[in-house]
Symmetry: C2
Subunit: 715 residues, 2 copies
């Protein structure tokens, strides 16, 4: 065992301290990013598989990093069981993160074990995106760079004191469970990190000065946030699993006929000759001419996305190539490709490129990469943790990283083809910020879905609270509102014959028993979808802020207002971009309370002016989005289009809420390539001057996508 006290050196310098078996160093590896290393290097860390280099210039634009503690206070211990780390935790400090947590938000006092999984009941920490990472409202984030299962004790541990009779025991006898739960832990506290099996550890400390800057540093260090294709801002609709080519085209015709803005059509397993496991080959019986179908969709402005998972059927042309490049156990009877090996990712990607991307497919849904069903105890659904892979990564590490490595394989293919995309994926991990991939889940609790939007922003993740069936039209609308106000507006009808707004009941839907009020319902849904399309310019710009500055487009309020105690546990409201606050309805609520942070706000629908720092009651309305706007905002809303692609032009109405305090911006580029990274874009600056909006376009992109046609002042 080696107990190591880290010597802080806040400069780019490497220091090694020998202490027993472990050597520990600390360096400022990037502006405000401190890397601590101790003991033997691990071969398979999230960092090693980073897709992008750090955005150094973005990091340089952030203020000097500060921390509420001295990095030297972090203690690392290594023994034959593994590594443990003790990180200082201040009194009253609030912790968040650990990836896409479901069912928990404020993590203080919790014992968290972020392990990849599809069905995270309870608060073990199981999640689709198990990041060994947390962020504090005191303005820093911690990432333990490991793919091993890691446990975090967030401050309720009680180290034995040095004094033998110190008074750290509660004075009275507790007679109820309630009393016991109220017991506070006294004395100096830490976050404890337990990494079983590791003989060395790296960790990153992302400095503040504040919470959002720490998160920005994390995202920029990962290479910057994702900027999906412009079409990804629209609505994605996945059709029923057994649809044939004609069914798909009929569905598209329905959308067009009814002017329902849908931007992407997703196919489910049956497009392939085999699934599960997958062949990655079109089934010509169901889809006789996929190229023709894709062209027809493109002509109507729609993209096509294909479902798959990575487990390779012996009916796939990839089988022979990947046989020796896969684990010694299978999943769903399919090969598990060793995605930790670049050549394996390349083979996998090449098949996708040659036979799917080249045909016009612009996105994939990457399912089942999250060790499905381990919490239901069924061993069929994935590979065991003892699985060995040719690269040397073990099964546990592979499980934790499988989602990011799968993203890496597919994203890289698109990037090399200079084609932007927007993917669906069931698992992710650290340093995934640059992947344009939205997580989704089978868990279907609406309240949790909203909370996951708030949680996603801490950890460089995107989350799509997909809509399927509902118990009532009201519930369907609430879910649809949340979807419209999320990073990806996804309707997943993989087991529904008709869109859910025509019949929200699954059984009746599939029996063709459509609602009598279906046209009224259709009108409401269309209005919500149209709002989404109005929001595209604002949203797309928020994503550009994510890419270039690391600011999460969707984030909990605590990120922007880290010292507001009333927000410590608010998980059902969140910010969209710089100036919008969303507060979706869930359950069967007619009304809900909305807490507005300090400052002055406007109700987006009623235009009522509201003073922050308190709660307001709002009423549910079918065709209104529960939104609030910060005073001083110039909000650019587009005239709704039926789809967005690289040719789309938007007519913009600028809504000015109160006296405009700041400029607003819009990001203008081709929308579907990486040319913006070579400077081929404009920043459209909007200034309110003398009752009208002045537009200034900076950049060399040659299409004026955004055209300001109107301005509305709201006092």
């Amino acid at each position: 065992m080696a107990r190591v006290r880290i010597i802080a050196l806040c400069c780019v310098q490497l220091v090694l301290i020998k202490a027993g078996i472990a050597q520990t160093s600390i360096k400022e590896t990037a502006h405000g990013v401190f890397k601590i290393s101790s003991g033997a290097n691990e071969k398979f860390t999230p960092e090693i598989f980073r897709e992008e280099k750090s955005n150094v210039s973005g990091l340089q634009q952030l203020p000097k990093g500060t921390l509420p503690f001295d990095v030297s206070e972090i203690e690392v211990n290594i023994d034959d069981r593994g590594c443990k780390i003790a990180i200082p935790l201040g009194d009253g400090e609030q912790l968040y993160g650990f990836g896409l947590q479901i069912g928990s938000f404020n993590q203080n006092g919790m014992r968290k074990m972020p392990i990849v999984n599809d069905y995270p009941l309870n608060n073990l920490g199981y999640t689709h995106a198990p990041l060994p990472y947390y962020v504090s409202n005191k303005g820093y984030a911690i990432l333990v760079n490991t793919s091993r299962y890691t446990t975090f004790y967030c401050g309720n541990n009680q180290a034995k004191g040095t004094k033998k009779k110190e008074d750290n025991a509660p004075a009275e006898t507790k007679l109820t469970v309630e009393e016991l739960y109220q017991t506070k832990v006294s004395g100096r506290n830490n976050v404890l990190v337990d990494i079983k099996g590791a003989q060395g550890i790296e960790m990153y400390v992302f400095a503040g000065p504040d919470m959002i800057t720490a998160i920005q540093r994390y995202n920029l260090f990962a290479g910057g946030g994702a900027l999906p294709a412009l079409w990804g801002m629209g609505i994605k609709y996945r059709v029923k699993a057994d649809f044939k080519q004609a069914d798909v085209l009929n569905t598209v015709n329905y959308f067009k006929e009814k002017r329902i803005p849908v931007n992407v059509i997703g196919l489910e397993p049956r497009w392939q000759t085999a699934a599960y496991p997958c062949s990655f080959v079109w089934d010509k019986e169901f889809f006789p001419n996929p190229k023709d179908m894709i062209s027809k969709l493109k002509a109507k402005g729609l993209q096509m996305n294909l479902w798959e998972h990575a487990f390779v059927s012996n009916k796939s042309p990839l089988y022979e190539q990947l046989y020796n490049r896969s684990g010694d156990f299978m999943a769903f009877h399919g090969l598990v490709p060793d995605f930790a090996d670049k050549s394996t990712r390349d083979i996998f990607a090449k098949h996708h490129k040659d036979s799917l991307l080249n045909m016009g497919i612009t996105g994939f849904k990457m399912d089942e990469c999250d060790n499905s069903d381990i919490t239901r105890g069924d061993a069929r659904w994935s590979f065991p943790e003892m699985t060995k892979f040719p690269s040397g990564i073990n099964g546990e590490q592979m499980h934790q990283l499988f989602g990011v490595l799968y993203q890496k394989a597919i994203y890289n293919m698109f990037k090399e083809a200079n084609q932007r995309t927007y993917l669906d994926v069931r698992a992710s991990n650290a340093f995934a910020s640059p992947y344009p991939a939205a997580l989704y889940s089978d868990t279907y609790d609406h309240k949790s879905y909203i909370e996951m939007i708030a949680n996603s922003g801490f950890s460089g993740l995107l989350w799509s609270p997909e809509v399927r069936e509902s118990n009532s039209f009201k519930e369907l609308v609430m879910r649809s509102q949340t979807a419209v106000l999320s990073a990806q507006a996804l309707f997943n009808s993989w087991y529904l014959q008709y869109p859910p707004w025509l019949q929200f009941d699954r059984g009746k839907n599939n029996n063709g028993e459509l609602r009598k009020d279906k046209e009224a319902n259709e009108n409401i849904i269309r209005k919500l979808f149209e709002f989404r399309m109005s929001l595209v310019p604002y949203l797309y710009t928020a994503f550009y802020q994510y890419q270039s500055k690391g600011i999460p487009p969707f984030r909990a309020l605590i990120v922007d207002y880290p010292n507001d105690e009333n927000l410590f546990k608010v998980a059902d409201e969140y910010m969209i971009g710089e100036n919008l606050l969303a507060a979706p309805f869930s359950g069967n609520a007619e009304t809900r309370k909305v807490y507005l942070p300090e400052g002055v706000w406007y109700n987006f629908n009623t235009h009522e002016k509201l003073t922050g720092g308190k709660e307001y009651l709002i009423k549910f309305k079918y065709d209104e989005l529960p939104l609030f706007v910060k005073e001083g905002t110039i909000l650019p809303l587009a005239k709704p289009v039926e789809f967005a692609d690289s040719n789309t032009k938007f007519d913009i109405n600028c809504y000015v809420f109160g006296a405009p305090k700041n400029k607003s911006y819009l990001f203008e580029d081709d929308g579907d390539t990486y040319n913006y990274l070579k400077g081929n874009y404009n920043i459209v600056e909007l200034m309110a001057e003398n009752g009208k909006i002045k537009v200034k376009r900076n950049g060399k992109f040659n299409l004026k996508r955004f055209n300001i046609v109107n301005t509305t002042y709201i006092k």
Copy 2:
């Protein structure tokens, strides 16, 4: 990495095979018990802490051990991640065990991780008693002798085949979740065992020829099953947490006045000066004269049991003594004694002996030893897994073993005082069969509680499905019936002012709003309790069979009928002793189906003769126990007494169901010492001859506890 193929040598002989870093041996360590060792020895295994030596003579009386596979087919691999084992699994073989599983019974195809925990939602395998152990209906049991967290994949894994295009993938595309779950795994199968962190492993194979013999071998190898004190067969009633001495005596007076047979009174935390954590010292304000109270109870035939947990308050006289003998983290602000160290257990026990046992306390309830609340994520309730202990055991191992080590400390004290007991405990593990301690739980799902009775018998465990409040009197009665038909009939009123049959609603109970029909209800409950007291001689003898032959007194039907496919998943019926089948009601059922195995059975209540191999419908009745009796049984039922202790004599009515096929037996000893182990007991043999029962008493115990007064023939 060393892949080791074990050479089977079915004789007592040690063979070492060098293969890379691992050495592997196999020996028949006891009659029909094969020990396989590979790699480095572990220091802290369940086996090392066994309380009793193997019952060699009991084992010798079992038939020669046979197995459905060759032990040499078991494969062990060791690498730097840990150990993995592959154990052959036959087609159609059914697996059970893994300790006190909640929510699962038949474990085929499951991924199980038996980890100690109080709240085992889902099917991860978390349980109060996390045994790395399973038993097959093909007649063998496997115990992996480890206290590390271990994962078992029970047959649904899919090792990559050797042929590159072998047809192991399902032929068709699956479009529904239902279809996917129906997917069968083809090809050769194994149980895979994954022991992360271990650099060596021991395992035991308990041979058949049949399932019950394998379980008997396991129990006898552990030292034989528990034989609680005779008084433990009666009813245990725990009073409200804030009761004072006078309240306790009042409650006892109520029982006596109403002739409600209660045998043990349990006190909850408030008897101590501090809890949580515990002082283990009487609070004289609440209990001014505990010795007097205990004497008064004893005079009325009642024992006294005290709640505690093992975490030591700084208000305890044990604090100073245990400070350096405890872990470096605390739990509930109390010291965590290093129970892996004998001197620590002895200090802990000595305090209990001097100040509690010597005062007349005859049992303890050992709470919170199960890493409480880890699934709710709250870190306050126990010590972290990274905790270090002076003995060298790590926190993970300590968690797994804490319950058995705690039992060891307390049980040993009683044994040394030559005093039998019956304890309550919240955690256990392997080789715990000899501990007279019934597990209990806060989870309160009645259906699971019944299933846990069936599960307990596979793994050498005793389980008490405690009764607290209810939603209706009917539910209370159903729960009471299950309690009466379990290893310990426990009513836990720790938050109820009055017994639940006077008011089953918690709130009203504590407000003193008793039911108008309380006397009618009391009469029903009395009748159920009286049945329990009638069953004491039969039950006590079943426990003696457990002690001497290893036959679980409560066990799933599959144990006795391992080849009956209809029983593979039957978890809501179980055997009590040799000849009784119980089928408790749960939920709101008016009727339930009962499957009777092959042979002829009698409905205990209606005396109806029933042919086995099919299902029957029975109706719920408040005052009848849902029991069936095997044809040919001589069932000795006692005239109910209000309590049982070492002086109790029982008047017995023998019920003869059909033509008696076998003798019946009763075990007769002093009931509260270990003198029976020195031969001081009788076996009372009951034979039906010419219409009356012939009694033959073998042994040298000088009290005739059982007196046959009547015989009833049921044709």
